[in-house]
């Protein structure tokens, strides 16, 4: 991505003097921008879970009554008698007992056949398309970044959007809203010379001052200097969120469990978090899926269950909705490596008390695959997003996604 030296180094008007080293934010609730959007629900939090690599939908929600399933999945198919039945035609992978328990409590909506037409089947292009909600790739910012710009711009809360991730997910890339990003809080602070603790504040001030200059980068919304400022401001708040926190759910010992526990801590600390993002990888199962996929689904299912148990235990689940996405599903027929190649549509999960519990959409149509052997699309992913934008975040989804994406009805419009 192009930058210019002029943009980086010459625009230094934003210098922060040492005497001005006060936090430029304060934690509070609705901002004036939020108040200007009548339908916004400032107390609600959306948790986005990205399954990286392209999750195999057919082995996640199994069309167990379709005889073609066993034919197409002769190597790695789930024994149809073992599925956790959702309705008369579809069932969860048998390892997903945690998510099934939430289903049984009417807290899960399954949205089937989600995707977009004419996919190139590239991970990276498809990921960009899902991040930006734009198959033409003309959008510079993420779909939730655009939402954040419309609702949160001007907010001085540095933690309105946070990613538990190694890098900033493009979904949250915004023009005006910055997103603290980290995998853990263990070293999420500016450390200085232990031999001279009295010099700590001086070093922090120097760090802030050099980052106070405007180092804008052409064609990117973020700036290096802004990252430094946001690092300090978010760190000051986040250092305490784990203090005395007792998890009320049995998180599995993996990065997703740890990430969702951190998210629960942030929610519990009442920091005004609106979007919290977490990723889990390993789903690109071209080979050996028979060995690797079930453990991944176990991690996902158990982590989500622990997360809602934890929220329930702290009385926090009412204002939290979790949604999953993945860049694509996988080829209907398994390959010669006991795996699956890149596909198109897949089912996704929406979890929380606001859902209209049930399966939204048909089972995948295995009798009518496209010329590449891939599944057809029933629910455009922009309808999937739009339903969350309008019914959970109270936003004008057409302003963010463009007009014409039907609401899929998986959220309770009168939830309050």
């Amino acid at each position: 991505m192009p930058f210019t030296r002029r943009d980086f180094l010459i625009r230094s008007s934003g210098f922060v003097t040492v005497s001005a080293m006060v936090p430029r934010w304060a934690v509070k609730g609705a901002t004036r921008f939020e108040e200007s959007v009548a339908a916004d629900y400032p107390n609600r939090t959306l948790v986005v879970l990205e399954l990286m690599g392209g999750n195999d939908g057919l082995n996640t929600v199994v069309p167990f009554t379709d005889p073609l399933y066993g034919t197409l999945r002769s190597r790695i198919g789930i024994p149809t008698g073992s599925v956790l039945q959702l309705d008369s035609r579809q069932g969860m992978n048998p390892v997903m007992t945690g998510l099934k328990a939430l289903w049984d409590a009417k807290r899960v909506a399954v949205v089937t056949n989600v995707g977009y037409p004419n996919s190139s089947l590239s991970h990276f292009q498809s990921r960009d398309i899902w991040h930006t909600a734009d198959p033409t790739l003309a959008q510079r910012f993420g779909w939730l970044g655009r939402w954040a710009d419309s609702v949160l711009a001007g907010s001085d809360n540095p933690l309105s959007c946070t990613a538990i991730s190694q890098s900033l997910p493009k979904t949250l890339l915004a023009e005006h809203v910055r997103v603290p990003t980290f995998l853990s809080l263990a070293s999420y602070q500016f450390q200085t010379d232990g031999s001279f603790p009295g010099d700590h504040t001086n070093q922090v001030n120097a760090f802030l001052a050099q980052n106070g200059a405007e180092y804008e980068i052409e064609n990117t919304p973020s700036t290096l200097s802004g990252v430094g400022q946001d690092a300090i401001s978010s760190s000051n708040i986040l250092q305490t969120v784990g203090t005395g926190y007792v998890a009320m759910g049995a998180y599995p010992d993996n990065s997703l469990g740890a990430g969702l526990e951190l998210i629960a801590q942030i929610i519990n600390a009442n920091l005004g978090a609106r979007i919290l993002y977490v990723t889990y990888g390993g789903f690109d199962n071209h080979a050996g899926e028979d060995v690797s996929h079930d453990p991944l689904l176990t991690d996902v299912s158990d982590s989500i269950k622990a997360f809602f148990d934890d929220l329930d235990g702290h009385g926090k689940s009412h204002d939290v909705l979790l949604m999953t996405w993945s860049e694509f599903g996988r080829r209907a027929q398994d390959n010669g490596s006991n795996g699956t190649d890149h596909g198109t549509s897949a089912p996704h999960f929406v979890v929380g008390d606001a859902v209209v519990s049930g399966v939204h959409g048909d089972p995948p149509d295995l009798a009518h695959l496209d010329s590449n052997g891939n599944l057809s699309i029933q629910n455009d992913f922009r309808s999937y997003y739009g339903t969350v934008l309008s019914d959970w975040l109270g936003a004008d989804s057409s302003a963010i996604l463009g007009p014409g994406w039907p609401n899929l009805g998986f959220l309770n419009k009168s939830y309050a």
Binding site: M1, P2, F3, T4, R5, R6, F8, L9, I10, F15, V18, G53, S122, H123, F124, Q125, A163, Q166, L168, V179, P180, T181, F182, L183, S187, Y188, Q189, F190, Q191, T192, D193, S195, F196, G198, D199, N202, N205, A206, A209, Q210, N211, A213, T220, S222, L224, V227, G228, A231, G281, D284, H286, A287, N335, G336, S337, N338, G339, D341, H342, N372
Partner: protein, 457 residues
């Protein structure tokens, strides 16, 4: 218009074609003149590495472990007398590195790195063929299980999308047809008994698809070598597709900006006329007026490995790169273990709040290490022979050494202010005493290493 060859231009060249230089190295490169400097870097086979290789071997990095491989590679980046050889090896590492978590065999990963180094500047065809038959890559992108009748598309797709042509320059049919051509290229002796380290390439005729394939408009009973040839020869109305793809990516890597169309055309032309010699494309870039233009200076966001290496090299520190290797995950780049085939996104994507703190923690470890192991440098040596009597002079000296002397006057003032500031926050006057050097010079190094100006090369 010819380049105004200055010492700053030499420093820029050394930041981009290497990992930054010491004042003496910049002086020496500047003295060669522009063409001499570029030739010295590019035609690096002339530089003897035997004493460095001996010193590296004596460090005894554990090459059977990921951390040992990371230490070994960063040591090479920092201390090899051939900086561009390592910078190009690192380019290929970023271009198509395979992940050890899937490949498992550390020796296979090491061998892939050695292949990239050996062929880094040669004919692109040779490198693409070697990587396509590289055991780590065969396992990483599943071509080891790509067999006739039920092909596995993983490598075939990324070969075209990520490695040679770019998306939009092939169809899904080309993917399945290239996959068929690549059937039979697999590994043997890949097993747990040898910790997966003994695998070698084998072409298994029994699993190769001998049928006719149609790849990018050509039809025949192609094998993997044929497919690679067709891919690299592929041209559209704008000429060589791989020449555009590779030229643009190398330009971005070295110049830190997207290549304008006329630059892509020029690099594509060199790629074709040289017989796809990578060295000539790189030479063209490093001699190009646009490479030295203002708009390319300080635009490359150092990746985590480059950041760690540059700090060691520019401070003339000694390092075993253990702290750097241990910091890579937090900084967002576990060398030799990318999360997917694309590797890491470059540029501003490296920078986020967590990664920034991880960089700051690493540089604090470097700046405050007063011992003689790990990563350590000599504060008094940094000031030796210079007038370091005032805060301003120390700031200017270190800013020049770290190539961060291009900051605004306000930022410079903040550094001077830091030097003069007392523990109670009051403003004093820094004086050159050994105690003040130990405290504030180390502190200033830490602060400068965490400045935007040092995250950029």
């Amino acid at each position: 218009m010819s380049v105004n060859w200055t010492r700053d231009a030499a420093a820029h060249l050394l930041r981009r074609a290497g990992f930054g230089g010491t004042p003496a190295e910049i002086d020496a490169l500047f003295a060669r003149g522009q063409e001499g400097a570029v030739s010295y870097l590019v035609d690096y086979d002339a530089i003897d590495t035997s004493s460095y290789e001996s010193a590296l071997a004596a460090r005894n990095y554990n090459l059977l472990k990921t951390i040992g491989l990371q230490q070994w590679f960063m040591d090479r980046m920092a201390f090899s007398p051939r900086p561009l050889e390592e910078k190009m090896t690192y380019f290929w590492n970023l271009h198509w590195t395979s992940g050890i978590s899937k490949v498992k065999g550390a020796t296979l990963i090491l061998n892939q790195n050695k292949t990239e180094r050996t062929l880094a500047m040669g004919k692109f065809d040779d490198l693409v063929l070697a990587i396509s038959q590289d055991p780590a890559m065969l396992v990483w992108l599943d071509n080891d299980t790509n067999k006739a009748s039920k092909p596995n598309e993983n490598y075939a797709r990324e070969l075209m999308e990520l490695f040679t042509l770019g998306i939009g320059n092939y169809t899904q049919t080309d993917v399945t047809e290239v996959a068929r051509a690549l059937t039979g290229w697999t590994v043997q002796n890949y097993n747990k008994a040898t910790n997966y380290n003994q695998a070698t390439f084998v072409n298994n005729p029994n699993t190769h698809d001998n049928g006719s394939k149609t790849i990018l408009g050509q039809t025949g009973n192609f094998d993997g070598t044929d497919a690679i040839g067709i891919i690299l020869n592929h041209a559209d109305s704008a000429g060589s597709v791989s020449g555009r793809f590779l030229g643009a990516k190398l330009w971005l890597y070295f110049a830190g900006t997207e290549a304008a169309d006329y630059l892509v055309d020029e690099l594509q032309g060199v790629y074709v006329s040289s017989g796809r010699m990578i060295r000539e494309v790189v030479r063209t870039i490093l001699l190009h007026d646009d490479f030295y233009a203002d708009h390319t200076l300080k635009t490359w966001v150092r990746s985590p490995a480059e950041y760690a290496v540059a700090s060691v090299r520019m401070l003339e520190a000694d390092s075993d790169f253990s702290s750097a290797a241990n910091s890579l995950a937090g900084m967002g780049q576990v060398l030799f273990n990318p999360s997917d085939a694309k590797g890491w996104d470059w540029g501003i994507a490296w920078m986020n709040t967590g990664a920034l703190f991880a960089r700051a923690t690493l540089s604090n470890t470097l700046a405050t290490n007063r011992g003689t192991s790990g990563t350590h440098f000599d504060t008094t040596a940094l000031l030796a022979g210079a007038d370091a009597s005032t805060a301003e002079k120390v700031v200017d000296l270190l800013a020049s050494r770290l190539n961060v002397d291009d900051v605004s006057s306000e930022v410079r003032s903040s550094w001077v202010d830091y030097m003069n500031r007392n523990d109670d926050g009051s403003l004093g006057t820094w004086t050159n005493t050994s105690a003040n050097v130990d405290k504030k010079v180390r502190g200033l190094v830490h602060v400068m290493l965490t400045s935007p100006a040092f995250h950029l090369a």
